[in-house]
Symmetry: D2
Subunit: 354 residues, 4 copies
């Protein structure tokens, strides 16, 4: 029982504070014999890293991952894979003013109350910097289940929504723009929106949609490890996430059974896939798709009233370098966590045979 | 690693098929010395049981739970608590026509593909009958964390939504009507809606909102066992659930940081609580509230095209006794799972001290 | 994290007190499609059950197991397998004199101090009655790994040791005598010894040796789930066990490397197998063998000084029906736990492939 | 489920190959607020490190641990604690001759068969170098349960046994000699023995006894996480261990109940403590003591026949720098693992209250 671990058979355990010495983790249960594409892992990290474009935080971190074990002569050995990402560009002084101030809608207050102590620099362990670890593990998992295609993209920023079903999108275009929206028209509007928000010293929420295609039938353990429940838990683990829905989602709650049921085709596929590729917690071979809601970043550049650890009222104005909208950088994180969930069940399924 | 288990320190492991001999489970990690209120447990089961009103399935199951261990002279002993609910009113013949037919949007197809065999009677293990086990465990967990108030209620049926914030509702009225909506006006409309739907041989979706009050600060383990991530996983484990949101939820994804941030009051409480009582994965002492989306029941009483295990096209019309809307009976299930999550973290928090 | 659970992928979770309503458990992770031989399971239970011969406790329990789920039309379905063994012949009155007395070298004192309450009847949860659950699960596991032969036998009673290496024994003779020693000459002496001890109102310790043959290469997860570490934990979980050694064991600690090393044959087998079939925590295809030490049963029929829960000195004389030596009835328990460990790693190994 | 993890609430997850870049790990579940004594941790590492005396391997590794997270301003923060030990003095060329040779009684053969690939340099993951990670975690755990005294010592080397009960030993003398035996007379003989063995190019086995004093009553979870079963598993995880016994151990298997039972004193202590401080899997407040058997190191400096991965017969003579007897360096490892087990149950016990 480790609360800094994710996964069952393929299990990643992480550590690290935003402004500490390093972050990193251990990937356990990864099968032997996979030729690792290290560049592909670094590329995923680059998609997530700060400072990559004008609409994300300007903190510059090279985010270079070093693998420490579990790989020999380029191949996985079946032993645990340690990795480390050194923190290099901490500006902890930006946070000195936060020593005992509880920033609104951050984890400062709750960490302090739970633990009686906290590393206040950059949010410490509660920082989204931790998700760089997940991207490393997820990028490796992607290579294990290379036949499955996982594509996440920004589906809304504030009230600007992509207005096409995912089937009409060309995922190869997602990386063509800095907001990671495969619909160019929507992307442009989203970027403009984020730039306006940034100028106003404010932040904005958004949603990410993720689609997993070519998933084999049978992934997921019914009852308490349903495939969608694990995906939901994975997504709700990402900083700033407030909601998760798959298939018909919240819209499905308004529908009638006669509308909602997925009629089977002769080959076992279904005509509508409102189930979102999962029935009874088990993948059915259809596309898995789900949507994740992100709240606006809590650090804003205008003054807010708050309290300090002595329960005195004070004011705070965001310093440091922050994202006006987390969604563009969260796209690779969503994909990474999806890959971890699918790879875990993929391995598990092998053990379910006589 | 058990996929029929839920929880960490307080852990319930279950078994049972809808039309098998019995369902039941083992509750492990329950502390010693609690005087058990068995009536309260049975009452929770009665809230969930079939046949309780005109808007639920007419299957009659007494759903009487027998405790087999772990309680001595009325008190918990700290040892594992076994319990069993015998199935008494199976009409398995209702399902004989399903032997090799895959019902649309059910788990028949995926179970068959995953396992190569399935107990087709009443959906077997995939039946929501399993949730009776959860209600037993949750009802016991409620007694452990008696100072926390957990109230779930029906917040929508189809397109009929309760139109008040939960703060304006009187939870003591939830049980006053058969749809379990504390707003009488909305309740009436919902009941009428469900009756219409039933008459049409159709089914309808809905949502449940749950509020946990008087939760101590500090529950939840950040990173991979965030309080809301575990609640989300718990809810997504319930049959027919398609989505989960807490606090501002999907609405929060449209908001700006300056609107969304919860300003602190002098006592550490916040003015808006769009965070939903959880910051950084840890409870902050404010009300925890979340919303769960349920799809319409897949079994409808009109004819649908489908396939059988030989991939031949056939037709199916629902037989057996089914709910036209799962939401009323799911209210105690949502509460039970919430209690299990909170009790687990409540115990865990005790171990987080030097 | 359940402390009444054993195993990883194949996981059994149990409950039950010696004189409660029933004992039982849930077997999770068992693959689908195995045709279950129920008679074989009951036969294993019969080997363990009380009252089977003149050298074991005369308590008569039919120990009939009822399977409640997870098996359909005679085959496992991949869902969790619930089972129950009703207690039928409790003579709890035999224990009324123990209500608040701490029997020497029993768990009365520690349970009371840990939990503040205990079911004193027949030792409650600490009774070896619990191991009937393990025999059920182990007997099922044996059917999963039917190609592996697991043979345990009584290798000593008090100072009477079987004086042959296991390779010279015919395991088919183990069940020919009531002490379960395949060497007839030693068996006779052991039986006589136990009868003398019983007449004297005393009890005696002993050892069991277990041999697993035809184990595939590669079972066991190095570092913290070494095959022998899991076997050791399994054996040390059995009531009254005080020690575990495998291969050369404690004798190996006196040897030199030049004597102890197992020289390889050309086919990968070894000449000496002092490693006991396990190298680096992983099976190497040679026979796995180990030895387990059991202390004498703590309940004796002569008077002993002790204390009660008020720390007052008192006397106690064993009542109830007890074994003069646990070893004969523990033979099937050792086999069952061995089967559970091997089956767990056998399933796990399947997930260790790309 | 991680097979490179140990512990439940206090859980350490490790990685690293003998001649890779680094070894290290993550300690999870450590409570917040402990002022860490880093020197004490380094001192424990120094007790284990190679090159410390003339009777151990002459490989020189500084074994300097760097903490990467989870500690802030000298105190634990409750978040996961990452640490790393860089490998600095690998002489991997010493192992080039082993590329495809299976060393007798090593893990080469089994790793190769299980994984199809192995890092042959210095034994890779199967090297006892891994135990440096355990010593780091155990040294930290010791600080958490500072009121418990844990003392391990060399109790035999080959056929030279310490001939006093542990009660007659002065543990403060253990570090006075390089074999770590608190009885000076025995120590001298042991050292001479090891030197003779080394000169002969051979190796020798031995045993370690460990005593934990001032353990609170109530540690251990009966049934499958008995205190002694977890200790046994911990010890059997250490490289080269072949056996474990606690309390009366294998000797107890020869005794009668009337001899073996521990008569209670008026204060709840017992007169004999053949139980070894544990009854029913739970600590009873008496000294916990157990004994661990280590086989002779498999690498010897004389020529042995063996095979390579093509199943061809060949010869091998140990190169590299190896221990003639593991026992002196294993003393701090035994203590570390004992501390991890006790600290884990110590935290767990806090969660066992209403």
């Amino acid at each position: 029982m480790s609360f800094n671990s994710f996964g069952n058979l393929l299990r990643v355990t992480t550590y690290g504070e935003s402004h500490g010495t390093a972050i990193g983790g251990v990937i356990d249960g990864f099968p032997a014999g996979l030729e690792v594409n290290f560049n592909a892992i670094q590329e995923e990290l680059n998609r997530r890293k700060p400072g990559q474009s004008k609409i994300v935080t300007q903190r510059k971190e090279p985010d270079t991952v070093e693998f420490l074990s579990g790989v020999f002569e380029g191949k996985t050995t079946g032993t645990s894979i340690g990795f480390i990402i050194r923190n290099t560009n901490q500006k902890s002084k930006d946070y000195n003013h936060n020593t005992n101030i509880y920033r609104p809608s951050h984890a400062d207050f709750t960490y302090d109350k739970k633990y009686g102590i906290r590393d206040y620099r950059g949010g410490g362990r509660s920082s989204a910097r931790e998700t760089a670890n997940w991207v490393v593990a997820g990028a490796l998992a992607k290579q294990l289940i290379a036949s499955i295609n996982i594509n996440a993209f920004t589906s809304s920023v504030g009230d600007i929504f992509i207005d096409k079903p995912y089937q009409n999108l060309d995922f190869s275009k997602t990386e063509n723009n800095i907001v990671r929206c495969p619909d160019e028209n929507s992307a442009e509007k989203m970027i403009t929106k984020i730039q306006e928000i940034r100028k106003a010293g404010d932040t904005i929420g958004g949603t990410i949609t993720c689609v997993a295609q070519n998933v084999p039938v049978g992934l997921g353990e019914p009852i308490f490890n349903k495939l969608h429940a694990e995906l939901g838990k994975a997504m709700l683990s990402i900083n700033a996430v407030k909601g998760f829905e798959f298939g018909s989602g919240f819209c499905g709650a308004k529908m009638k059974g006669s509308e909602h049921n997925d009629v089977f085709n002769k080959d076992g596929s279904t005509q509508s896939n409102l189930s979102g590729g999962i029935q009874g917690g088990i993948s059915n071979g259809m596309d898995i798709y789900f949507r994740v809601a992100f709240k606006p970043v809590a650090t804003i550049m205008s003054s807010q009233q708050t309290i300090n650890s002595d329960y005195e009222v004070t004011e705070i104005t965001g310093k440091g370098r922050h994202d006006p909208c987390v969604v563009p950088r969260a796209v690779p994180i969503v994909e990474a966590m999806t890959a971890l969930v699918l790879a875990d069940f993929w391995l598990l399924n092998k053990s379910r045979k006589i």
